[in-house]
């Protein structure tokens, strides 16, 4: 029999340290739904999603019950919808919005809490459908509740599509203004990527990539609270001990994810895709990545040393997690969404954590500038410039980076914006005031970087 200590350790992780499975995400290919007539496409999309995902929520709940491990979210990711728009006779933004509404309706029918894949991959150029989809994003997000959107604007192999970067600044502004009554909530459902991955189970950036199969189950694990508690027991020890402790903890967390992923895949009769080894915080006390960094010895997350601490954390999580799962993928790393992390919120409020420091942190962790509220007066070009900086980091370092900023209408530095639920509370962070207008208006592409001569 298992020993007393091990059993109590697991129970304690779940009961007191917020260990949970963050999401079971079913990827559904919509390639078979393409067609020329918008009504036919919408019907096919609705029918396929509601058929494939009809048991997703009930199976998730049954696993939760039997294993006693909370599964916070059940979600769906689909083929980038731009491909469907492209096939239409009339690839217009209005028709794209119709597909968004269909996704929303299907997601509500099966009971998931988000559906991702209202996406376009335009790192090198646009098709007609992609242009229409991107143009439609503000309306699509304002008129739906559960649809999440993402746009890939750059990659290490292709460089950065600066036309797309320029446009995304405007799209984010427009989405914020259309949802001004909720302080720009639509922007919380919109991610701009560089090097987007095809099997990400986390929202808002999840979509089912080109190389994926018909249907797949991907699982995202969590557990910052567990890592923090494990580190409390090795206070004062050197970094070797810190890394080893994180690795062992990540192993245990990931095993849980692997078990849930396999069980869900088996019961739904769908192939198991990947486990995403992520430390995803929530606003709950004790479920914060920032507190892990502070536990390592930093007075406040954001001070000098934060990047090094995060690099160690991110690497150790991967090393521990890789061994625990047959297939690892997705974003896999520590997330640093400001509004969703109690420690980050506190650090941003106190001024210890700045946008520039967050940018540096994204060089060594997944994923990017995430859930950051900026002043409503920030102009589109400056938002584009923030995206360009972050995409450049991803492009040069061959990693995924992303931007999910919310220029909350009417909000100024010092204000706080409440999103509620897992999306949390965002203190408005200052941005640079100097213009990037002329830089962004150049357009064209930033060429792909050299992959040798690395210095």
């Amino acid at each position: 029999m298992l020993n007393h200590f091990e059993i109590l350790e697991t129970v304690n992780m779940i009961d007191r340290e917020n260990l949970d499975i963050r999401t079971i995400t079913m990827g559904i290919s919509l390639k078979s739904c393409a067609g020329q007539d918008i009504d036919t496409v919408c019907r096919r999309v609705y029918d396929k999603i509601t058929l494939y995902a009809k048991d997703l929520v009930s199976v998730g709940e049954a696993i939760e019950e039997e294993f006693g491990i909370p599964i916070i979210n059940k979600r769906i990711s689909v083929t980038p919808v731009a491909a469907l728009v492209d096939a239409l006779d009339e690839p217009t933004p209005e028709n794209a919005v119709k597909i968004a509404k269909t996704l929303d309706k299907a997601a509500k029918k099966v009971g998931v809490n988000f559906i991702g894949g209202y996406s376009a991959l335009v790192h090198k150029g646009f098709t007609r459908g992609e242009r229409a989809l991107i143009e439609s994003i503000p309306q699509a997000l304002a008129q739906t509740e559960l649809v999440c959107s993402s746009v890939n604007v750059g990659s290490t192999r292709a460089g950065i599509n600066m036309d797309a970067v320029a446009q995304m600044g405007k799209i984010i502004k427009e989405a914020a203004l259309l949802t001004a009554d909720t302080k720009g909530f639509a922007c919380a459902k919109l991610v701009v990527f560089c090097n987007a991955v095809e099997d990400n189970p986390f929202m808002a950036g999840a979509f089912l990539g080109e190389g994926e199969g018909e249907c797949v189950i991907n699982v995202g694990v969590s557990g910052p609270g567990v890592v923090k508690c494990a580190l409390e027991k090795v206070r004062g020890e050197d970094f070797g001990v810190v890394a080893e402790t994180i690795k062992k903890t990540a192993f245990k967390i990931t095993r849980m994810g692997q078990l849930v992923a396999q069980e869900a895949a088996k019961r739904l009769n769908v192939p198991f895709g990947i486990v995403d080894l992520s430390l995803a915080p929530t606003p709950a006390v004790g479920d914060s990545v920032a507190y892990i960094l502070e536990e390592m010895g930093l007075e406040k997350c954001g001070t000098h040393g934060t990047t090094a601490a995060l690099a160690l954390l991110n690497d150790a999580v991967k090393k521990g997690g890789v061994m625990a799962s047959g297939y690892v993928g997705g974003l896999s790393g520590a997330f640093i969404p400001v509004s969703e992390d109690a420690g980050m919120i506190a650090a941003a409020r106190s001024g210890a954590l700045s946008l520039e420091k967050l940018e540096a942190m994204t060089c060594v962790c997944s994923v990017g500038l995430d859930m950051i509220v900026i002043p409503g007066s920030t102009d589109a070009a400056l938002i584009s410039a923030i995206i360009a900086d972050e995409a450049a980091i991803g492009m040069v370092n061959s990693k995924t980076t992303a931007v999910r900023v919310i220029p909350a209408p009417g909000a100024e530095v010092g204000d706080t914006v409440e999103f509620g639920g897992l999306l949390g509370t965002g203190p408005v962070m200052p941005v640079r005031e100097y213009s990037a207008e002329k830089f962004i208006s150049r357009g064209g592409r930033i060429p792909a970087p050299l992959q040798s001569l690395k210095n």
């Binding site: 009961d15 019950e65 006693g68 491990i69 245990k252 078990l259």
Partner: protein, 89 residues
């Protein structure tokens, strides 16, 4: 199916009697049992077996939860794999 029942809380009379009573009434067989008491804190771990077709974890957990609330204890029943996978390679 095998599951692990954990009971944690303040030591008091009747913990084993009442917990095993609920299990007995629901046709659950106890395979192994161990307990310790440290400074008034009681922890008990049982390895149990049940017929997944006749007994659902949901209904068992509801009854154990009710007992836990009654006695001020935290009682969980979880499938055994979660523990073995987490701690064994």
């Amino acid at each position: 199916m095998k599951a692990v029942v954990t009971v944690i809380g303040r030591d008091q009379k009747g913990i084993i009697a009442k917990t095993s009573g609920v299990l007995y009434e629901n046709d659950v067989n106890i395979l192994d049992i161990s307990q310790t008491t440290m400074q008034d804190m009681f922890t008990m771990i049982m390895l149990v077996e049940y017929d997944g077709k006749k007994t659902t974890v949901k209904s068992l957990n509801e009854k154990l939860d009710a007992l836990g609330d009654d006695m001020g204890l935290s009682i969980h029943l979880q499938r055994e794999e979660i523990f073995s996978l987490m701690h064994r390679i």
